[in-house]
Amino acid sequence: MGLWDSYRMRLRRKRRILRALRKSRELRCVQDNTSRIRPKDILLVSTIRNEKIRLPYFLKYYRDLGVSHFLFVDNDSNDGMQSYLGEMDDVSIWHTKGSYKASNFGVDWCNFLLRKYAHGHWSLIVDPDELFVYPFCDTRPVRALTDWLDSSQLRSFSAMLLDVYPKGRIDEIPYKAGQNPLEIAHWFDSGNYTVSRNATYGNLWIQGGPRARVFFGDKPRQAPALNKIPLVKWDRKYAYVSSTHALLPRGLNQVYETDGGEKASGILLHTKFLDTFSGKAQEELKRRQHYAGSVEYAAYAETLKTQPDLWCKWSEKYINWRQLEILGLMSKGNWA
């Protein structure tokens, strides 16, 4: 990478940050518990729209892992999410009526909150339908992981998005608030992922899984990206560039080894495919607030009419992180 390239990236990063500051005017804080954040706390940042039903389990899951404070952007939900979270003193909420799309799919809002509150904190940036799994997550809290990352002088940790789905029709079993979504959706594709390198930001670009298989078979290039870097020791100089797929400065995207070895990595179990999905897909299609003209949701709506079963005989049933590591979807790296 030449000097000129580095300079361009620097400008791009600054632009991201300026943009985040500008977009922050759309945010109105409705619940501020940020004074309770202590110096070593692990934070979680998420943009939410009408996902109240998922929150009880989501909060429990991440509290159990050791997340100390939640920073939520409420993108104009109308399902009573704010009143549900009202009593919780480890939750801060910002409300916005702003356009999800115009804020770079929520990235600008997150960048702002991270810059303002997460400087020096290990931070998880996940959607409400994503469950973070990392090596030894059944016996060690996230703090053990971040301590290890600190001592290894690593600033970011990758976790690929792994779509989990139910067997049978997606809308067959209704999801109830507080329920572990994996009770319903616990099947996944184990070995159809393609990886390539994004030359601009140096991150990997991973596509595949059931969405690519069922919805994007004939247009694989458009299949959604699954690479994510959701755990970062944030610094106010950092910025996400597209969703949580890539960051600037580019060094943060070097979460993979190019010399034959394996770095440690985790998985985000993506529990999108519950009975709530069909309604969501319809709504998102109308709102047109998603990436590339919601091409993804158009494909879903099209296919879901006819073939709502993502399961096939080669689907793998989710057991635990060790299984994912044996299948080569994540790695312990040199953490033992």
Binding site: T194, R197, A212, R213, D218, N227, G260, W314, G328, G333
Partner: protein, 566 residues
């Protein structure tokens, strides 16, 4: 009072250190604490106050301890001097850190050392004999100067090292010293330790080691060699290092491993590993169940972790392993076979080959219409789809995924010039690939087809061009695959012999001699077909020479019997 004194260097997690100190003193062992200068005064005083009533605890002068620098040695010197001066009964001094955890009852350690009153336990080896040097500095640790911090001033550090190398500056090692290195956690007898600390030359030695890199791994290790009457070159502290030279940390889930390790003390323990601290500190008698000792298992686990980090799993491409071209360390996870021209030349070749080898035999995986998996499945292991566009989006990953998903089962597939050629280079470079080509066999389906001759001619020209490019690639010098190429004419001369060599290579099942032969397609008229192509100006050359005129023996009207070789 016990005859074992503990020198403990503390810098973080003071609550844990306190717990461990109480554990030692409860068993009667005196403890001298060195608290890093970096710990602020308020915290230090609060910590010190907790031990005012304990007659077995002392605090030494404080030094600033930074990894790889002299401060750590200075700290252990001050603390050791205090220990020897204040506790006259102490016979062995045990150096520990705040994140060390005693695994066996303290009394067992005391008894063990009492039974070996003259032995110094200190890992100490000459630089030539240790493999675990990080950062490329071995002997140079002792012959260059290191005034800069490796952690904070890496560039200056590196620049100064290379400057000294360029100028050829070398330090003189003090007379009589032979540099030794080893784990910084030792247990020395009063005799040896006091000899080191009271050495008349100590000033000179200290001045020398002050500029050695990571002196805590060499100061005592070198000097003990001067005075010790009996060195046992191993550390009583279980401590494992990863490939960056940083200690592995133990967590709650290591409990069973530690229990069975049979070691006296382990480090480093994660400060929040409540279960480990609870188990080993409170329940003294049952802490280390005297089960089968098994320190080897810990070794294996950590050795595997290093291996995974530096070499990785063969043939795996994923979010945190994406090797550059040439650095793959195994491009795919296991051997597989590519068969070109066989299913054209033999009828029902695939089921026959599967029977003969016991392997999984696919059709044309790279066919333009779809990936033809074995048994005509639409999806395959790992939910791999037969969709041609998905496959052609990244054919190399399609192939490496297929091989990865079927670890433990040999994969074979048909290939040919009609198929997508985008993965050719990958296969040719892959040492796991076994490529067998009958060149020119693509002409057989054309010969059998019912298409117009102009079309046939055009198709033949296209396929011949593709295959010729492919063969050129397979013959390049960069190829690692196992490659066999026959022209069709060459192959039909001794088909069974050739098949046998391919089958033999594949696996244990194939060790027996082939008993059943595949049926070769009827080639009567093939020579004439080729001649017709030639007459049209398209010269098919890849299949070798097939005579145009049927030989006299075959002039009868009956169709010739197909080749059947037993």
């Amino acid at each position: 009072m016990s005859s074992v004194g503990i020198v403990m260097l503390v810098h973080t997690a003071l609550e844990r250190a306190e717990q461990v100190v109480r554990h030692w003193t409860a068993a009667g062992c005196p403890v001298v604490l060195h608290v890093d200068r970096k710990v602020d005064d308020a915290r230090f005083r609060a910590f010190k106050v907790k031990f005012t009533k304990d007659p077995l605890v002392r605090f030494s002068n404080r030094h600033r301890c930074e990894w790889g620098t002299w401060g750590i040695v200075a700290a252990s010197q001050s603390a050791s001097e205090l220990m020897l001066a204040q506790f006259a009964d102490v016979r062995h001094v045990f150096l520990a850190s705040g994140s060390c955890l005693p695994l066996r009852p303290v009394q067992e350690l005391v008894d063990y050392l009492a039974a070996r009153p003259r032995t110094d336990f200190i890992e100490s080896a000459t630089t030539a004999d240790v493999p675990w040097i990080v950062g490329g500095l071995s002997t140079e640790r002792f012959t260059l100067r290191f005034p800069f911090s490796w952690k904070r001033q890496r560039r200056t550090f590196d620049a100064y090292v290379s400057l000294q190398r360029k100028l050829g500056i070398r330090r003189r090692i003090p007379y009589g010293l032979i540099p030794h290195m080893g784990s910084q956690w030792w247990c020395l007898t009063r005799q040896t330790l006091s000899a080191i600390l009271e050495d008349p030359n100590r000033k000179a030695y200290d001045a020398y080691f002050r500029r050695v890199w990571i002196p805590d791994e060499s100061y005592y290790q070198t000097l003990a060699r001067l005075y010790s009457s009996k060195i046992e070159s191993r550390s009583l502290t279980l401590s494992k290092f990863d490939f960056q030279g940083k200690p592995h940390v133990f967590y709650d889930d290591h409990l069973q491993l530690l229990r069975r390790s049979d070691c006296f003390v382990a480090r480093k323990i994660w400060p929040q590993a409540d279960r480990l601290y609870r188990t080993f500190l409170t329940d003294a008698s049952g802490a280390m169940k005297r089960t089968e000792p098994n320190p080897g298992k810990i070794d294996r686990i950590f050795a595997k972790a290093v291996e995974r980090r530096t070499r990785g799993r063969k043939g795996l491409y994923m979010q945190s392993r994406y090797p550059d071209v040439g650095a793959e360390n195994g491009m795919t996870s296991g051997p597989y076979s590519i068969l070109q021209g066989f299913s054209e030349l033999f009828e029902n070749f695939e089921p026959w080959f599967a029977r003969a080898t016991g392997a999984r035999v696919h059709g044309h995986l790279f066919a333009p219409e779809r990936a033809v998996f074995s048994d005509d499945q639409q999806l395959f292991n790992g939910c791999l789809s037969d969709n041609a566009r998905s496959r052609d989006y990244n054919p190399e990953r399609f192939l490496s995924n297929l091989i990865w998903n079927t670890r433990g089962e040999r994969q074979c597939f048909q290939f040919g010039p009609r198929d997508t050629q985008k993965a050719n280079w990958f296969m040719a470079r892959d040492a796991n690939a076994q490529i067998s080509v009958i060149s020119g066999a693509w002409a057989i389906p054309l010969f059998k087809s019912n298409a117009n001759f102009t079309e046939l001619r055009r198709e033949a020209a296209r396929l011949q061009q593709i295959e010729s490019d492919q063969l050129q690639l397979l013959r390049s010098k960069w190829v690692s695959a196992r490659i066999r190429i026959w022209s069709m004419a060459e192959f039909v001369e001794a088909p069974m012999e050739n098949l046998q060599t391919i089958v033999d290579e594949i696996g244990p099942l194939a060790n027996s001699h082939l008993s059943e032969a595949p049926k070769m397609v009827d080639l009567v008229g093939f020579g004439q077909f080729l001649q017709n192509l030639k007459n049209q100006g398209m010269h098919p050359y890849l299949m070798g020479d097939f005579p145009v005129d049927p030989t006299p023996a075959q002039t009868s009207q009956r169709p010739r019997k197909p080749y059947l070789v037993k």
